[in-house]
C-alpha cells in the first residue's frame, strides 16, 4: 500500500539528511474487556488529566508511559507515569517506528482521553487504536450494552501529534534523584485537607522531613505561621540495590530536616487529582531543590516532581 507520505511544503524545516530519513508506519491497537481494568485505566488517565493539559504518551510493547517534561511554561513540574499494559489490556498490539526503536510517541490531551473513557464506563469492550482520520488520532471505540440485537457503538477520535524520533530523547525516564530524605506520606486525603486550608493563607508551602519518620507542612506569611506535624510515617528502605550509594542520607543525622519550598497549587493539584488509591505513597526531598512524589500501585506508578522555589 502506498501509504508513505511525502514531506509537506518547501519551507517547513531545514531539510534533514536524506540518507537518514526513513519512512515507517506505526500500528497500535489495544482492547479492554474487563470492567475493573477499564475503570482503573480511566481513573489513571483522569489523575493525569488533573496534572497537565498535554503530555506525551509513549507506547512500548510492554508499557504505556505518560510523560511531562519540566518546562518553565508548566511551572517546572514534571511527571512520569508508567503502566504495565498487560495489567490493563486484554489485547495489545503495537508496532513502533522500527524494530530497534519499537515505540510510538504521541503528544496527547489527557483531558480528552479522560472524557472519552468516562462516557464508556459500562461498555462491553473498549478499543484504543491509533488511526488516521482528519489528523492522527487515538480512537476510543466502545461497544455499549443495549437491548437491541445490534450493539451501540460510540467512537471518540482524540487528535494527537506524532512525535518524530529525533525528539524522543526529551522524554526519557527521569533518573532517581539523589535525595536527602525519603519518607512515606500520610494518607493523601488527610494531607489534602491540610494543604487545602493552607492554600487560603499562602501561595507557598514548605515541606520538610527527616529520617526519623517525621514530616512537617508549613506556611509562613507576615501575618501567620502554620505548621502541621506528622510523625511515625516511616522512611522507605531504599536498599543498597537502589543505587543510592554515597548519597548523603546514609550518614545523615535522623533528626536533621531536609526542606523544600514549593508552589502550593502544584502540590494541591497533585493531591486533588489523584484517584488511584496507591498502595504506597512517598516523597523524596532534595534539600531546597525539588520534591519527588511517588505513587505506587501494583500495576502503575506515578512520579511527580515539583521544583523548590527560593
Amino acid at each position: 500500500m502506498g501509504r508513505i507520505l511525502l514531506r509537506g511544503g518547501p519551507n517547513k524545516l531545514p531539510p534533514p539528511d536524506k540518507t537518514k530519513e526513513r519512512k515507517h508506519r506505526m500500528k497500535f491497537r489495544a482492547k479492554i474487556i474487563d470492567f475493573a481494568c477499564l475503570s482503573h485505566f480511566s481513573r489513571v488517565i483522569t489523575t493525569i488529566s488533573k496534572l497537565t493539559k498535554t503530555c506525551v504518551l509513549r507506547l512500548t510493547p510492554d508499557n504505556l508511559f505518560f510523560v511531562l517534561c519540566g518546562k518553565v511554561a508548566n511551572g517546572g513540574v514534571s511527571m512520569w507515569c508508567e503502566l504495565s499494559q498487560a495489567n490493563f489490556f486484554d489485547e495489545y498490539q503495537m508496532e513502533g517506528v522500527s524494530s530497534e526503536d519499537n515505540e510510538i510517541c504521541l503528544e496527547v490531551t489527557p483531558d480528552n482521553l479522560s472524557r472519552a473513557l468516562k462516557t464508556v464506563q459500562n461498555a462491553k469492550s473498549v478499543k484504543v487504536k491509533l488511526t488516521k482520520k482528519h489528523c492522527p488520532c487515538l480512537t476510543i471505540a466502545a461497544e455499549l450494552p443495549t437491548l437491541s440485537s445490534i450493539s451501540r457503538v460510540v467512537t471518540h477520535d482524540v487528535p494527537v501529534d506524532v512525535i518524530p524520533r529525533r525528539l524522543w530523547h526529551e522524554f526519557k525516564e527521569p533518573s532517581m534523584p539523589d535525595f536527602d530524605v525519603s519518607i512515606y506520606l500520610p494518607p493523601l486525603k488527610t494531607m489534602k485537607n491540610v494543604v487545602d486550608r493552607m492554600k487560603n493563607l499562602s501561595n507557598f508551602l514548605v515541606i520538610e522531613a527527616n529520617l526519623n519518620g517525621e514530616m512537617n507542612l508549613k506556611i509562613e506569611t507576615d501575618l501567620v505561621s502554620v505548621s502541621t506535624h506528622f510523625k511515625d510515617l516511616g522512611n522507605p528502605p531504599w536498599g543498597d540495590d537502589a543505587s543510592q550509594l554515597g548519597r548523603p542520607s546514609q550518614s545523615r543525622d535522623p533528626e536533621d530536616m531536609a526542606e523544600a519550598r514549593v508552589d502550593i497549587r502544584k502540590l494541591q493539584q497533585f493531591l486533588m487529582g489523584q484517584q488511584v488509591n496507591p498502595s504506597k505513597a512517598m516523597c523524596n526531598i532534595i534539600h531546597q531543590t525539588v520534591i519527588h512524589l511517588i505513587l505506587l500501585h501494583e500495576d502503575m506508578s506515578l512520579q511527580y516532581f515539583i521544583p523548590a522555589v527560593a
Partner: protein, 386 residues
C-alpha cells in the same frame, strides 16, 4: 385566568418551566380554550419551545371568556417560584396561578404542608402571541424513543459542545459532534455514536439526510422527558428546515422546534450518505489504521524544535497545493485528500435559518374568535417593539 395544579403535576409544571428556561429569557403565557400554553424563544429566534397543558391537567382551569389574554415575563422569576424541585415534591401540595389584570400581575401561590402559603407576585408585560410555523406531520423522517436512549446518547458529548449532526439511513442513526469549519479541526475531539433502528420505538426514514442543530435545547427537553418518563419524538426533513422534538401525553404536549444548519447542497453532509456503519467493531483490520511518519534521527542535543513537529502536519490534510500535488501519486490518499480540500475551499456556510416563525399579533379591537393574521418575524428584536 385562574387555575390550580395539584400533586405530582406541580413538579411536571416546574420541570416544563425549567426546560423552557434552556431556550430563552422570557416566558410567554397564553391561556387558551384548549389549555395553558407556555412558550419561549431564543434571542436569535432559532429555537422555540411550547408546552400546552390541557384543561384536564389542572384541577381547576378557568380563562377569561371575553378577551384573549397574553403576557410575557422574565423566565428567571418564574423559575424562582419553582426553584427547588426536591422540596417542591416533598412540601408543595398545590399551586394556584391567577392573573390580576388590573395590576398586571400573575400570582403563583404554593400551598405547602402545614398550611404554609408561599405567594409570588410576578409582574408581566403584554405581548404578541408567539407561534412557530412548523408542520411536523409532513416530515419525511420520524423517530420516537424512550428518553433514556437519548439521555445516554447526549451524555457522550461534552457539555461545551454546541451542535450535533444527526444522520440517518433506513436502519441506523448516527450522531456526531459538529465542528465548525473555521475551528481548528486538528484540535477538536470528534465523537460519533451509532444507534440501531430497533433501539427506537418508532423509526421511519424516507430521506437519508443529515441535519445539524443545537444540543442545548435538546438537553432542555430531555430534562423534562426524563423526569416525566415520556417518550421523545423527533421529526425532521432536510438541512435548513427545522427539527421538531416533541413529548405528548393525554394532558400535555411539548414541542421544541430547532433550526438546523442550512447546508450547501454540494456540501458533503447533505449529499453523501452517512458514514459506513462501524460494523467491523470486532474484526477491524489493523493495517488500515496506519500512520505514516518519518523517523529521521537527528543529532540528539541539537534538536530543539517544539514537540509539535511538521511531521504531524504532514499527516494532516491541510497542505499547500504543491504538497497535495505531490501526493497525488498515492491513490488511496487522494480520495480523502480531495474530499477534505474541497471542503475547506467552501466558504463557511454555517447559517441557522431563523426565519421560520410567524408572529401573531392581535390588534386590540380583535376578539379571539376573529381570524388572526400571521406575519413573518424577520428581525430578532421584534419582540421588543410591543
Amino acid at each position: 385566568m385562574d387555575c390550580v395544579v395539584t400533586g405530582g403535576n406541580v413538579k411536571v409544571l416546574a420541570k416544563a418551566i425549567h426546560s423552557l428556561s434552556r431556550i430563552g429569557d422570557e416566558l410567554y403565557v397564553e391561556p387558551q380554550d384548549d389549555g395553558l400554553a407556555l412558550r419561549s424563544v431564543n434571542s436569535s429566534r432559532s429555537a422555540y419551545a411550547c408546552f400546552l397543558f390541557a384543561p384536564l391537567f389542572f384541577s381547576r382551569y378557568t380563562i377569561p371568556s371575553t378577551h384573549t389574554f397574553l403576557c410575557k415575563m422574565a423566565i428567571k422569576s418564574v423559575q424562582a417560584v419553582f426553584r427547588s424541585l426536591a422540596s417542591l415534591e416533598k412540601t408543595v401540595e398545590k399551586c394556584h396561578i391567577k392573573t390580576d389584570e388590573q395590576k398586571n400581575r400573575l400570582t403563583f401561590t404554593l400551598h405547602c404542608k402545614h398550611g404554609l402559603l408561599k405567594t409570588h407576585n410576578l409582574s408581566y408585560q403584554d405581548s404578541e402571541s408567539l407561534q412557530a410555523v412548523f408542520d411536523k406531520d409532513s416530515c419525511a423522517n420520524v423517530f420516537r424513543a424512550q428518553p433514556r436512549l437519548l439521555v445516554d446518547t447526549v451524555m457522550h458529548f461534552p457539555p461545551s459542545l454546541e451542535e450535533v449532526t444527526v444522520s440517518v439511513s433506513s436502519e441506523r442513526m448516527w450522531i456526531r459532534n459538529h465542528v465548525d469549519e473555521e475551528a481548528d479541526q486538528s484540535k477538536a475531539m470528534l465523537t460519533e455514536l451509532c444507534l440501531a433502528s430497533d433501539e427506537f420505538d418508532h423509526f421511519v426514514v424516507q430521506a437519508h439526510n443529515s441535519v445539524t442543530f443545537c444540543l442545548k435545547e435538546l438537553r432542555g427537553l430531555l430534562l423534562f422527558a426524563e423526569s416525566t418518563g415520556l417518550p421523545v419524538s423527533m421529526h425532521f426533513d432536510a438541512p435548513g428546515s427545522p427539527v421538531v422534538l416533541s413529548v405528548t401525553d393525554s394532558v400535555l404536549e411539548g414541542n421544541f422546534v430547532l433550526a438546523t444548519l442550512s447546508d450547501d447542497p454540494n456540501h458533503r453532509g447533505a449529499i453523501t450518505p452517512p458514514p459506513p456503519p462501524p460494523d467491523d467493531f470486532m474484526n477491524d483490520d489493523i493495517d488500515s489504521y496506519l500512520i505514516a511518519m518519518d523517523t529521521s534521527i537527528a543529532p540528539e542535543p541539537s534538536a530543539t524544535g517544539p514537540p509539535t513537529p511538521q511531521l504531524a502536519n504532514s499527516t494532516c490534510t491541510k497542505q499547500p497545493a504543491a504538497a497535495n500535488h505531490r501526493r497525488r501519486l498515492h491513490s488511496e490518499e487522494e480520495e480523502e485528500e480531495e474530499d477534505e480540500t474541497a471542503d475547506s475551499d467552501k466558504p463557511p456556510n454555517k447559517k441557522f435559518c431563523s426565519l421560520f416563525f410567524g408572529s401573531v399579533l392581535p390588534s386590540t379591537s380583535q376578539m379571539s374568535t376573529q381570524p388572526i393574521t400571521s406575519q413573518e418575524v424577520l428581525a430578532s428584536d421584534s419582540e421588543d417593539d410591543t
